[in-house]
Symmetry: C2
Subunit: 223 residues, 2 copies
């Protein structure tokens, strides 16, 4: 599904340069579940944002199937994201003035064959919070709305940045089951940034980042 | 340090009531480290916000030493927080228009005997990010700025909502050492909401929430 070659990302703040990605080559196959691990600041979110079409590299190439993302305009990237990618952000990015249900609806309205918002929120056990606004939800509940929003569009690709970071272990297991089901039933390719060992264990592969590069890429024998 | 009696919190949204805290009795002793655990939505952040003076209960009482927080005005609560409490929020709450250093400075300027901002940020290994704005920091880096900001004021009380949620295990250990040092050197009383087993293990006590009540309160034999 994805192929990156020499993917490089440099952030410039004033005259300081941060080399967030230093030539990353990563292949992700159709319907694979890949766990992305690594220390804080090692480049994981930067990589995910680029393959998700939310940001552009400073150098190198990234392909989604035959589509070279680096050749797309801003409008092209928006179309690519809308038609293919479900994204769970590290900071949830819910719209504060919309309820949980409306936040999911915003995304399903534009999708070709979406779940109903109520269905998606039920998968993450939030049927009793449909009309709450983000400020009226606990941290873990906000994270679950973000997950429901991403899976509701039945995307080809699910990119999750720390999907269980704010969740206790039981609720985290619930979310992992939702992700596994989407992968099994829809063939959704999943890339998940995590510090959670059980997410890492569910993946086909574990890719470790260090200081902007891939330090190791190990196939999970048990899957 | 803290004593709550029948602490109750009901949120009303329209005609729906959420009973977030259902009569909580909790005592926290001077210089104790207490870990607060429990499922998503079980009331942990609600409890922490009330003892931290960020919110008020619907019923019941909460004392900080001899001070009854429920008798304070908004201005009184602000003074209480400023003079006594370092708070690490579940969503970091950094000011987007200020750099890492300035975010910490904002808090140390008002404190009686603070660390220098650079010192606090060095404790959490962010000396090379002093002039970055929150949007230019990774998730874990933002969380670490929030921690530096809370400990820099050398508070009597440190209240942390998921202080290592966005951190890999090594960086998480670094943060735990910062918290332990503040507790050991300053006698700071610490209450930490966490899903992280190593934080729970470092506490004097482990208090478990379930559906707005305390389900168990266990002293940690090893400490
Ligand atoms: N401002 C609010 N208005 C309405 N309901 C609220 C509000 N804040 C929280 N709640 C509800 O109160 C319950 C307890 O919330 P709280 O944030 O204390 O849980 P928590 O234990 O911190 O959860 P998490 O582990 O997910 O952060 C949740 O079910 C939430 O939906
Ligand atoms: N917009 C930006 N401007 C400047 N520097 C940035 C920006 N975004 C990220 N960085 C820097 O790039 C590095 C990599 O950031 P990235 O968010 O990819 O890390 P990460 O692996 O996701 O970390 P975490 O586990 O803490 O979320 C970090 O050191 C960060 O300070
Ligand atoms: Mg990140
Ligand atoms: Mg919470």
């Amino acid at each position: 599904t994805f192929r990156t070659r020499n993917l490089t990302k440099v952030y410039r703040t004033g005259d300081v340069e941060v080399h967030a990605l230093r030539g990353v080559d990563l292949d992700i196959g159709e319907s694979e579940i890949v766990a992305l691990l690594g220390p804080s600041g090692s480049g994981k979110s930067s990589l995910l944002n680029i393959i998700g079409g939310l940001d552009t590299p400073s150098d190198g190439e990234v392909f989604f199937r035959d589509l070279n993302l680096t050749t797309l305009s801003a409008a092209g990237l928006t179309r690519y994201r809308r038609d293919n990618v479900g994204f769970v952000f590290q900071f949830y990015n819910l719209i504060p003035s919309l309820t949980a249900r409306e936040n999911v609806e915003l995304v399903t309205e534009l999708a070709k064959n979406p779940m109903r918002p109520e269905e998606a929120l039920d998968l993450v056990d939030l049927s009793n919070r449909l009309d709450h606004f983000p400020a009226q939800l606990s941290g873990g509940e906000q994270q679950r709305v973000a997950i429901a929003r991403a899976v509701a569009k039945r995307p080809k690709v699910l990119l999750c940045d720390e999907p269980t970071g704010a969740l206790d272990s039981e609720t985290g297991v619930l979310v992992l089951e939702v992700i596994e089901r989407v992968n099994r039933e829809l063939g959704t390719t999943c890339a998940l940034i995590t510090h959670n060992a059980s997410i890492a264990a569910m993946g086909d592969r574990i890719v470790r980042f260090f200081d902007g590069q891939i330090a190791s890429d190990v196939r999970n024998a048990s899957r």
